[in-house]
Each structure stands twice: as structure tokens, then as C-alpha cells.
């Protein structure tokens, strides 16, 4: 028997493209705007969300039959906040450098709509294994968009990728700067992230017409 059934594979792969949490469900936009000026930050955020959403979905799924419906949102918030604090404390103790890189993202993870959205829409109604796959899939779909946006913003805004100067030196005027290219400072500001996300949505919908909603 294969480890993943066809349905299970769908749970992981669908959110990467045709049911992407950012471009299709339009969730998690705030953090995508805030931290994508650098590719490294995008990657760190993607991994953090992968961990919190994968584990959080399992916890909520295990508790799904005993959570009182009246306070389910509070329970979900407590679970995600507790997970984030645990991750943060453990990193501070055993991977201090990484925890410093993460510091600004911790708050953003708690407020990320994708996490609450998946708890509410999937984990409350499905078993732990399926919920785990759904969490991993959605976090990967979110991370994919973050990395794409981070790539373009850092490349066009600072001329670097992961901190390495790939287009030449803008001050000493080497590489592409020698022929008059200038970094686009506007790319570093949040509105450009929204525009890049918009462009991804445009490309995605023009390639797959089924995604276009009819009125």
C-alpha cells in the first residue's frame, strides 16, 4: 500500500497551486506584505508556519470531539499561541541565533489567518493524519508564494539574493549597474508585495481559466 493515497496527495498538492491559500483563498496576505523584502526572511517564515500549522492542525484534530463549539475560536487561538511560545522558547535555549532571526515573525504567526482558517475549515472535521497533511500542504503553498515574492522583491529592490550581490555592486557601479541600472527602492516597500501577489494571481488565472470566478 502506498504511503499516501491519491486523496492524501491531493491534500498536499492542491494548496500549492489551484487551492493556494494566498492566491486563491486570499488569506495570510498581511504577513506576505510585511516580511518579504528579503528572501531569507520569507524562507524562515515559511518554515515556521509549516511547523506551527502542521502540528496545530494535529492538536486541533485530536481535540475536535471534545472542543465546545461556543469557545472553539478561543481554543484554537490558545493552541496556536502556546505552540508559538514553545517553539520560541526552545529555539532561544538551543538555537539562539535562529531565534533572533525569528523574533519579528513570532507575532505574525499567531495572527496568520491561514492557521485559524485551516483549524476551522479542516482540522475540526477530519482525522489527525489528514489534518497534518492539510497543514503541511497549506503551509507549503503559503511558503511558495512568500518565496516567489521575496525573490523578486530582494532581487529588484536590493540587487541581492539571500544577501549575495547577484547583479553587481550598486555603489562601485559594477555588473549590471555599470550600464546604468538602478535598484528599485519601491520594491522594498509593502505596496509592491501586494502588486507582486496580484501579478502571480493574474498569471495563475490566465493559465487556468477554471479559477476565474463568474459573477
Amino acid at each position: 500500500m502506498a504511503l499516501l493515497s491519491k486523496k492524501d496527495t491531493g491534500l498536499i498538492l492542491d494548496p500549492l497551486a489551484d487551492n493556494n491559500p494566498i492566491t486563491i483563498q486570499v488569506l495570510g496576505i498581511c504577513s506576505a506584505l510585511a516580511i518579504t523584502a528579503e528572501l531569507k526572511a520569507s524562507i524562515v517564515m515559511a518554515i515556521s508556519v509549516l511547523f506551527v500549522l502542521g502540528l496545530g492542525n494535529v492538536v486541533i484534530s485530536l481535540m475536535r470531539n471534545i472542543i465546545p463549539s461556543k469557545i472553539r475560536i478561543i481554543v484554537q487561538l490558545v493552541v496556536v499561541a502556546a505552540l508559538v511560545i514553545i517553539v520560541d522558547q526552545v529555539l532561544k535555549a538551543f538555537a539562539y541565533e535562529l531565534s533572533k532571526t525569528l523574533s519579528v515573525f513570532v507575532g505574525l504567526i499567531i495572527t496568520n489567518c491561514i492557521i485559524m482558517g485551516r483549524f476551522e475549515a479542516f482540522a475540526l472535521g477530519n482525522g489527525p493524519w489528514k489534518s497534518f497533511l492539510d497543514g503541511i500542504g497549506n503551509a507549503a503553498g503559503y511558503g511558495l508564494i512568500l518565496v516567489i515574492v521575496g525573490f523578486f522583491r530582494e532581487l529588484l529592490g536590493s540587487g541581492t539574493l539571500l544577501g549575495f550581490k547577484v547583479l553587481g555592486d550598486p555603489i562601485a557601479k559594477t555588473g549590471i549597474y555599470a550600464i546604468g541600472y538602478e535598484n528599485n527602492g519601491f520594491m522594498l516597500l509593502s505596496p509592491m508585495a501586494l502588486i507582486v501577489v496580484g501579478l502571480i494571481i493574474w498569471v495563475q488565472r490566465s493559465r487556468n481559466k477554471a479559477l476565474i470566478e463568474e459573477n
Binding site: 510585511a34 523584502a37 535555549a93 522594498l188
Partner: protein
């Protein structure tokens, strides 16, 4: 038997148990890890102080590499010859001056108490470094750092850090290209304590001019840059009387 999760009594009981369980887990975790976290913070401060006086493992042009944690305590005691605490006119030696919390001291000063000002005196290749800790406000949250000066109050190195400045913009204050620019700038303008301005549009991106009390600003991070300028000026001003005695001796 299925549980009726809609009953009020169940909801209250569930909420109470959840609070107790989550609270206990977090409290246990925090108390069992706190020693390790404190130790990491201590080593980080030592690394930062050494970085400001030029003891680091920087190799290529762009990276910021500290002395590794397993060696830092040893290097710290080797290079930092004296740690003093200035409290009004009183100057005392304190081997753990680097642990003084600057924010707490600021709050104490606001209540009318005398501020404890830590200062580190380092020595490398026969040259003395006076390292001043700094604390200020960026755009979103606290920024802090260390500036190391020679006896003429010329900057020998700096280290900046932040709690939550925007990645790619204000967070770049801890990038090499920004911190390196401060080297060689004087804190003094004539005889006046001018600090160092993070200046927009000073037409000196390579920072070749070292006598203008200015370094080139970061694009898109004006408020963080202003915070850095204010932090340097205010922090150094607190040490003015001590720095005057160093200059007088020189």
C-alpha cells in the same frame, strides 16, 4: 456515551482545564529553560562588545561573524581589561557590568535615582578602546548596540541590533555595510559632542568623508536611521564627563 459539548457547565469546565494545562506546560518550559536562555544572552552581549572593538571572525565583505560561543568568554576576559560602572561622580569596577540593563537604568533615572552607566575598557595591540553601550528607539521597537571609541573619541567600530525593525529596511542597521561606515567618524564636532548623523542624501555613499559627523542613510528606513542617530548622541552624552577626563589625559 457521547459528550454533550454544548452544555454551559461543560464549556466552563473545558476552558478551566485548558487554562490550567496550557499554563502549567508553558510555566514548566519557561522555568526549565530560563537558565540556558540567560546564559545565551550573556554570551551574546560579550560577543557584541568584542565585535564593536573589532574582535570578530569577519572574513568576506558582507558577513557579520562573531567570536564563536565556545571561545567568547575566554576572549572577553583576554581583551576587556576593565569593566567600570559610573554612578554620578562615583566610579567603581564591576566584573559583571555588561549585565546591567540599560532600560531599567533609564526608568530608574526618570524616578530621580542616579543612573548606573557601564563602560568597558578594552586593549588590543597596545591600543585602548572605550566601549559604550547604547539603547534607543527604532520604528517599531527597541534598538541597541555598542560603540567603541579611542582616546580622541574617534569611532573604532560599532555594533547595532534591534528587536523588530522591518526586514530588508530598518533591520539592515545590523548589516556590515552600514556598521562599517561608522568607523573613523568622530563623535566630536570641534569641541562639541555632535554624535553621528545617519544622513539622507549626503552624496557620500562610500562614506569617504570622515570629518562630517555623517554616515549614509539606509533607503526606506528613515525613522530607524533617525533612531540610530538619536541613540548614539544620547548614549554618548551620558558619558560626557568621563570622556572629558580621557581627552584631558591624552
Amino acid at each position: 456515551m457521547a459528550i454533550n459539548t454544548d452544555k454551559n457547565i461543560y464549556t466552563v469546565a473545558f476552558a478551566s482545564i485548558m487554562v490550567i494545562v496550557v499554563g502549567s506546560v508553558l510555566a514548566f518550559l519557561a522555568s526549565s529553560l530560563s537558565e540556558k536562555i540567560k546564559q545565551n544572552e550573556k554570551l551574546e552581549k560579550q560577543q557584541n562588545i568584542l565585535y564593536a572593538m573589532g574582535i570578530n571572525e569577519n572574513e568576506d565583505e558582507g558577513s557579520v561573524n562573531f567570536v564563536p560561543t565556545d571561545r567568547v568568554a575566554e576572549e572577553f576576559s583576554k581583551y576587556i581589561k576593565e569593566q567600570i560602572v559610573i554612578e554620578g561622580d562615583k566610579i567603581t569596577e564591576d566584573n559583571e557590568a555588561y549585565l546591567i540593563n540599560l532600560k531599567q537604568q533609564e526608568t530608574a533615572a526618570k524616578k530621580g535615582n542616579t543612573r548606573k552607566l557601564p563602560l568597558f575598557i578594552g586593549e588590543k595591540d597596545g591600543k585602548k578602546f572605550y566601549i559604550i553601550p547604547m539603547y534607543g528607539k527604532g520604528l517599531w521597537d527597541a534598538i541597541w548596540g555598542f560603540v567603541s571609541l579611542d582616546e580622541n573619541l574617534v569611532v573604532q567600530g560599532v555594533y547595532f541590533d534591534h528587536k523588530g525593525e522591518t526586514p530588508g529596511l530598518g533591520a539592515n542597521i545590523k548589516q556590515r555595510y552600514f556598521m562599517d561606515d561608522f568607523e573613523g567618524e568622530s563623535i566630536l564636532d570641534g569641541t562639541e559632542y555632535a554624535g553621528i548623523e545617519v544622513a539622507k542624501g549626503n552624496n557620500d555613499p562610500l562614506n569617504n568623508t570622515k570629518d562630517d559627523n555623517e554616515v549614509d542613510a539606509l533607503a526606506g528606513a528613515t525613522i530607524t536611521g533617525n533612531g540610530v542617530s538619536a541613540m548614539i548622541k544620547e548614549s554618548v552624552n551620558l558619558y560626557k564627563s568621563y570622556l572629558e577626563t580621557i581627552r584631558a589625559k591624552n
